[in-house]
């Protein structure tokens, strides 16, 4: 059976070379790989010129990059399963047998290149460190095989997702390039010394340019990652730190186990039955409707949650949110605003947008489908609460988690109450104001099914008044909390920080209740007019 499988794998590999173009690529790939391995061996002979610390760092960084490459190169290159796990099902193999067979057949293939690479560090060490290095070789290869299998799975899966695949490949290339840059930066000064004197003029700028990459923090971060664990063992053995060697071993083995579980789980997933036996459709409460009571409020809430999860117009709002802090921090950094101050601003902006962005015109987003609510004669308050719940469900964790994170980044925990106060006022007040504005002053919105950024093709109002009016109203609600927070920042008196919390929660809470009531009444009174509005646009 084993021989059979290996022959199959070999045959598949050889068959790949039947077209001339494939042969060309294979030759190029083989030459490149050979050059790379040779470079590593030659590089190892340079080791004598490096000081002990740099040597250790370079070995671990190169090793970590090799182990990472074992994962990322298949992600970049592999586009289909050479042997799909399900094809082995034909041989009446159990899932575990298939998993073993796949690991085994991997050994015949490009991963063979990992063996000479894993052997490189052995020559660098003496004595007991050398024994440890020999012991690390099979572990490194095992880890590499698992990583390569996982990478191949990911690569094959990504083929069906062009956009995500593009991003993943770009990230992989950037990561590998960054790794190479760090390695070069560490080796560069030593190499430069070995070069003839007349070359120094051109080499020196490169060495200086790469100097920031030699920062110890970078090397330390990379060397503490689990991917470098097996490569680090001999270095620690040489220093006589046997406790650290054991720690490295444990970390590396843990990484191997995690890789194995991830990969075996994915294979098991690929082996699942892809089509169920046809049977009667199970009648059950679908989706979000299961999680809400069958009341008007529950119906509106379940529908809103489904739309937040499914409708691109809502999802776009969610996708844009994480970008806001990045853009804001970057622009404030360029403007030279101090970090402690700059870090405080993005969270309120994000919270404001969560409460306001789609909710303040939510009825217009329904388009004419709002007739369903009108003809069912549900109370306006029920409608308002239902629409608010998803926003609250997104906003509350952002406010709580975000405030803690920002206070930590800011460096002074006594700002936390002020942050919570301002953000609560913006979120609750935003929901309250939006509940009123969507029932009283809707303006044409992107229609269901249109692209999220497409402007609605209607004459007349584009909603500038509603937008600015509702934003100003929200800021007014938050103004007491904001004022108290500013006083705290100016004076550092924690009294103002707590005042901001109380003022923010109180003003936000009052606005929320008033908004739900007022918006509900407006909806009750104007429901047919709202429907008429949506039919016009």
């Amino acid at each position: 059976m084993v021989a059979e499988l290996l022959r199959l794998k070999l045959r598949l590999l050889v068959n790949a070379f039947r077209s001339p173009r494939a042969v060309v690529w294979a030759v190029i790939g083989f030459v490149l790989a050979a050059v790379l391995v040779a470079a590593l061996w030659v590089g190892a002979s340079l080791a004598a010129h490096l000081d002990a610390t740099t040597l250790r760092r370079v070995v671990v960084i190169v090793g970590a990059m090799v182990s990472l490459a074992a994962f990322f190169l298949p992600v970049l290159v592999v586009r289909s399963h050479l042997i799909h796990p399900q094809t082995l099902r034909l041989f009446a193999m159990r899932p575990l047998g298939i998993i073993a067979a796949m690991l085994f057949t991997t050994l015949v293939g490009p991963i063979l290149l990992l063996i000479p690479v894993a052997l490189v560090p052995v020559q660098l060490w003496d004595g007991s460190a050398r024994d440890v290095a020999w012991g690390a070789v099979p572990l490194i290869v095992l880890e590499g095989i698992l990583a390569a299998r996982l990478g191949a799975l990911v690569g094959a899966r990504l083929r069906r997702m062009p956009v995500l695949s593009g991003i993943a490949r770009l990230l992989a290339v950037l990561l590998l390039l960054a790794g190479i840059a760090v390695i070069v930066a560490h080796v560069a000064p030593t190499v430069a010394e070995l070069l003839p004197g007349k070359w120094w003029r051109s080499v020196l700028p490169v060495v200086l340019l790469l100097a920031p990459l030699r920062h110890p923090a970078i090397a330390d971060t990379i060397t503490t990652l689990p991917v470098g664990a097996f490569w680090r063992m001999p270095a620690h053995a040489e220093m006589g730190e046997w406790a650290l060697v054991r720690q490295d071993l444990a970390l590396g083995v843990a990484a191997v186990v995690v890789l194995f579980v991830l990969w075996a789980g994915s294979v098991r997933f690929l082996l699942r039955a892809t089509r169920g036996v046809p049977r009667e459709r199970v009648a059950r409460v679908p989706g979000w409707f299961r999680r809400f009571a069958p009341t008007p409020t529950g119906a509106v809430a379940a529908r809103s949650f489904t739309y937040w999860a499914r409708d691109p117009r809502y999802r776009t709002a969610l996708v844009v949110l994480p970008l806001i802090p990045v853009v804001m921090l970057l622009s404030m950094w360029i403007a030279g605003i101090p970090w402690e101050l700059a870090v405080l601003l993005p969270l309120p902006a994000v919270v404001l947008l969560i409460g306001w962005s789609t909710l303040h015109n939510d009825v217009a987003y329904d388009s004419t489908a709002v007739w369903v609510h009108v003809s069912a004669g549900i109370r306006g308050v029920d409608d308002r609460i239902g629409r608010m719940l998803p926003v609250l469900a997104i906003g509350v964790p952002v406010v709580l988690g975000g405030s803690v994170l920002v206070a930590w980044l800011h460096g002074d925990w006594s700002i936390l109450p002020a942050l919570l106060g301002v953000c609560s006022a913006l979120l609750l007040g935003g929901i309250g104001v939006s509940s009123i504005s969507s029932a009283t002053a809707p303006y044409p919105a992107t229609r269901p099914g249109d692209a999220p950024f497409q402007q609605p093709q209607v004459p007349g109002s584009s909603g500038g008044g509603t937008q600015s009016g509702s934003l100003i109203a929200i800021l007014l609600v938050a103004s007491p909390a904001i004022a108290a927070a500013v006083l705290y920042l100016l004076g550092g008196d924690t009294f103002w920080s707590w005042t901001a919390l109380v003022a923010g929660v109180a003003a936000g809470g009052v606005m929320l209740v008033a908004g739900l009531r007022g918006g509900g009444l407006a909806f009750d009174r104007r429901a047919p007019e709202l429907l008429a509005f949506t039919t016009r646009h």
Partner: protein
């Protein structure tokens, strides 16, 4: 909703399968408040979820206890859009338990009238009563007795069919088990069974009509107002729907449907109203309106279509 289709639920809550004449006795078993509402067909309690029964019946006492034979009463209904009169002083009586057709040429005001009758479009003047309850003064009560399918309005089409029907049921306060049973029955009856897990936005026009119709029926209303329910619905499904609606009307429910398919209205309805240019030209039991002619001929005669045919002589001499 066919009463026989869900014995588990109805058997516990209310006697439904009683013939119309015996229904008068049914309220005796129901709570006191309920007796003010004469059950004209599907017993009122059948609509109510177990948990909500108390609250809703308390609200129902607001309703004036008029035992009216008229399911829908329209008086002096009027609507104009920017100076153009769309509906001009319409009076209409739809007796309970009838299958009522509403026909008229394009732009006659059918959709506008039906929208005003169901609380979707505010009239300039006039009243609409559903079983004696004013749709515009006492909307909460009146709308509970109404099942509506408008024409040309969207559904929440990012929901799957099943989700949309659950949404409709939950809006009406039905409990999960009831909704589940009724969704199954309705899907069976209208041939939606295999499409329930697909998004409504992926449905064909006919399927959208059918799922909308199912949503209008899910709370077993006393009165159904359907605007063009058979447009782009295939004949097999249309027959199934008509069968369901006929059974519903036979049990005392009232159906008012608009269509511009004369043949369909003539075959299925027992009363008809003809509307043109915002006015009712004739209304009443089918035989009275037809006066021995076919509905199509009567319609053309009343709506004055013959004059249009007379003109356009230029079309009879070809230009090449």
């Amino acid at each position: 909703m066919t009463p026989e289709a869900e014995p588990e639920v109805e058997a516990v809550e209310a006697p439904v399968e009683v013939p119309a004449e015996e229904v008068v006795e049914a309220p005796a078993e129901a709570p006191a408040e309920e007796s003010e509402q004469p059950a004209t067909g599907l017993a009122r309690t059948g609509v109510l979820p177990r948990g909500k029964a108390k609250r809703q019946s308390k609200r129902a006492t607001v309703q004036p206890g008029v035992a009216s034979d008229s399911a829908l009463t329209v008086r002096g209904l009027r609507k104009s859009f920017g100076g153009v009169v769309a509906v001009d002083d319409i009076d209409l009586d739809v007796p309970a338990g009838t299958f009522y057709g509403f026909v008229g040429p394009n732009g006659a005001g059918k959709t506008t009238t039906l929208a005003m009758m169901t609380g979707l479009l505010r009239p300039d003047a006039g009243t609409v009563m559903v079983h004696g309850v004013d749709v515009w003064r006492n909307a909460g009560v009146a709308k509970r007795a109404l099942g509506v399918l408008p024409d040309n309005l969207r559904l929440f089409d990012r929901l799957t069919g099943a989700e949309f029907l659950h949404h409709a049921g939950a809006l009406r306060g039905l409990d999960h088990d009831t909704i589940r049973l009724r969704v199954e029955d309705l899907a069976d009856a209208f041939g939606l069974k295999h499409s329930l897990d697909r998004l409504v936005s992926d449905y064909s026009a006919g399927m959208v009509k059918k799922v909308g119709l199912a949503a209008a029926l899910i709370h077993s209303p006393r009165v159904l107002v359907l605007d063009e329910p058979f447009e782009s619905v295939d004949p097999v499904s249309a027959n199934a729907v008509i069968g369901t609606l006929k059974k519903y009307a036979a049990a005392g429910g009232t159906v008012l449907l608009s269509s511009h398919s004369m043949g369909l209205i003539e075959r299925t309805c027992d009363s008809v109203a003809i509307i043109a240019e915002g006015r009712i030209l004739a209304a009443g039991p089918m035989a009275d309106v037809l006066q021995g002619d076919s509905l199509e001929n009567r319609f053309v005669e009343l709506a004055g279509g013959a004059t249009a045919v007379a003109g356009m002589e230029w079309l009879q001499s070809y230009s090449d």
